[in-house]
């Protein structure tokens, strides 16, 4: 393994000590090389400790208690909301809704718009716009909405090098468009999308803008005000937080105006058997006992990420990605799916290797301790677009190292030989 140092790298030796799992060995002593961060990130000790502390000392249900534990739990839960609001530069903490994952966040928006009154209502003779590079979680909710309301689903296609084809933006986003939903960073190709061009056109026609920031929030500064979006969704488990928690940020006015989605405890103002009124946002959208420990964990995760600095993390990943792109490009028969350089892209690289099926690539890499993801990565339309059944995807995070990139490149060479 090389001892490459690249400008912009973080002190991964120190950082890796925070992540217990990175010490693991697999398959009889191979050191784990975890390159599946776009699927889920590992969790630092700080996050695990915050959740243990919650469970061992403060656990109670939130919002309704006068006893000490209930007050502590409520303060911790709502404190996590403050942290997340600050992390994304939300104008108000009340704009941060906790969900179970990004998928729920996106379904929440789709359902609110389906049940909304004018002017938001998505219905027959209106249009929904997405893109061909969306994660299934930003496709299926809109397909369901379209089937159930009669609205038309449209999308931006892709260029050969893995970018959005915005050439027909004015025909795709029209006066009939009620909502435009797209991913900030592609989870399969790493592409970073040009938000401004899309938002400008959406605003022109008065369409709401939903940004799927699931692959952005973990890796770069996310500023919901700068984005000028109406809704932004992301998920805890990809950003050093636990599973079981997601976030929907929404503009206050919209959250106030739009109808609730899930009904139940916590989201009400007053209930009679005949009718109910609802609590103000964010609680209106948080039916039932929320993921309390998980919010606490996510709060600790954004503290952790902030203490390192999102700019620094992005710089680190960019350096690593550039290094990886260069190394992988040298491998014969390797074809990138997505941008072929490190420009305007995140730390996720998909490729195919001759006609060796990605499943086989992944299996042979795994045997060497290298964990990558293979398949369609919940973005099957991208595979269809490029005429391939699946890709092999390596994705980096703040603890990834040049040595791990070397291991990947060597591993891929080994795969080629194995199936030669």
């Amino acid at each position: 393994m090389s001892d490459v140092t690249l400008p912009g790298l973080l002190d991964t030796e120190a950082i890796r000590k925070d992540f217990p799992i990175l010490d693991r060995t697999v398959h009889d002593g191979h050191k784990l090389v975890y390159l599946d961060n776009a699927a889920t990130s590992q969790k630092p000790r700080q996050v695990l400790d915050a959740m243990s502390d919650y469970n061992e000392r403060h656990n109670a249900n939130v919002h309704r208690g006068v006893h000490v534990l209930a007050e502590e739990a409520t303060a911790l839960y709502e404190g996590a909301r403050d942290k997340v609001a600050a992390f994304v530069n939300a104008p108000s903490r009340d704009e941060v809704v906790f969900t179970k994952n990004a998928s729920e966040s996106l379904n929440l928006v789709a359902n609110m718009l389906g049940w909304a009154d004018e002017p938001y209502k998505v219905e027959h003779d209106t249009e929904i716009v997405i893109t061909e590079m969306e994660h299934h979680s930003n496709i299926v909710p809109w397909q369901l909405l379209s089937q159930r309301t009669g609205a038309k689903l449209k999308w931006f296609g892709l260029t050969d090098d893995g970018r959005l084809d915005l050439s027909a933006v004015d025909e795709i986003i029209t006066e009939k468009t009620k909502v435009v939903s797209f991913t900030l960073v592609s989870n399969i190709m790493g592409t970073i999308n040009p938000v401004e061009a899309i938002v400008r056109r959406a605003q022109e026609v008065g369409a709401l803008v939903v940004v799927d920031a699931s692959q952005a929030a973990p890796h770069m500064v996310l500023d919901v005000q700068a984005l000028q979006a109406d809704f932004v969704a992301f998920t805890g488990h990809k950003m050093c937080g636990p599973t079981g928690i997601g976030v929907l940020w929404g503009r206050q006015e919209l959250l106030d105006d739009l109808p609730p989605f899930l009904g139940g405890g916590e989201m009400i103002e007053t209930v009679t058997m005949h009718s109910s009124t609802y609590a103000p946002a964010p609680h209106k959208f948080e039916a039932g006992t929320p993921p309390i420990a998980q919010a606490v964990g996510l709060g600790a995760a954004v503290d952790y990420l902030s203490s390192i600095g999102m700019e620094r993390i992005q710089e680190h990943e960019h350096a690593l990605t550039a290094y990886a792109v260069d190394k992988l490009r040298e491998i014969p028969d390797l074809r990138f799916i997505g941008p072929t350089t490190a420009e305007d892209r995140g730390a996720t690289i998909s490729f195919t290797l001759g006609d060796i099926h990605p499943h086989d690539v992944g299996q042979v890499l795994d045997e060497q301790g290298i964990a990558v993801r293979v398949g369609h990565h919940c973005a099957r339309p991208v595979c269809l677009r490029y005429g391939i059944p699946a890709t092999t995807r390596a994705s980096f995070y703040l603890y990834s190292t040049p040595a791990e990139v070397d291991a990947l490149a060597a591993g891929v060479e080994h795969v080629r030989n194995f199936f030669a």
Partner: protein, 155 residues
């Protein structure tokens, strides 16, 4: 006992013998609810020009919310609107201090009996009880004076 800082003599007195309770004629009426605990208040204000000629109310709730409405009535009736607003804002500031404000003499001059609620501010779940009637008063006043409703959700 720490609890005594919340349940001050003054508060218990107001709770047991509330001032001005009952609904009388008014220029505007509001109904506020604290969804956390189900406390409710219906409150009417009556103005004579800029002067608060009456604040009448009916409601159900804990000692803190009941006593607070009683103190409000005692403090605000007869006051000019400007002065009443100062009192309301000072009370709000005290209640949101999480026990960090130790009322000084100036504050006591403004709040009179209402300084007794300083101890309540240490109990986040009860702050809303103490504020329920004050938020209702603010809302009712806005309505009575024809301002846009500034109903602040008490949730």
């Amino acid at each position: 006992m720490k609890l005594d800082s919340m349940y001050q003599e003054v508060i218990l007195d107001h709770y047991k013998n509330p001032h001005g309770k009952g609904l009388r004629e008014g220029d505007a009426e509001v109904h506020h609810v604290n969804p956390t605990c189900g406390d409710e208040i219906t409150l009417r204000v009556r103005y004579d020009g800029e002067t608060i000629s009456d604040v009448s109310y009916e409601g159900q709730g804990c000692s803190i919310s009941q006593a607070s409405a009683s103190v409000l009535n005692e403090l605000l009736v007869g006051k000019e609107l400007g002065e009443a607003r100062t009192i309301q804002e000072t009370f709000l500031e005290l209640m949101q201090s999480r026990g960090r404000i130790e009322p000084d003499e100036a504050m006591e001059d403004v709040l009179e009996d209402a300084v007794a609620f300083a101890g309540v501010s240490k109990y986040p779940a009860r702050v809303k009880c103490a504020l329920l009637s004050w938020m209702a008063w603010k809302d009712a006043t806005a309505q009575a004076l024809g301002e846009d409703s500034v109903k602040e959700k008490t949730a």
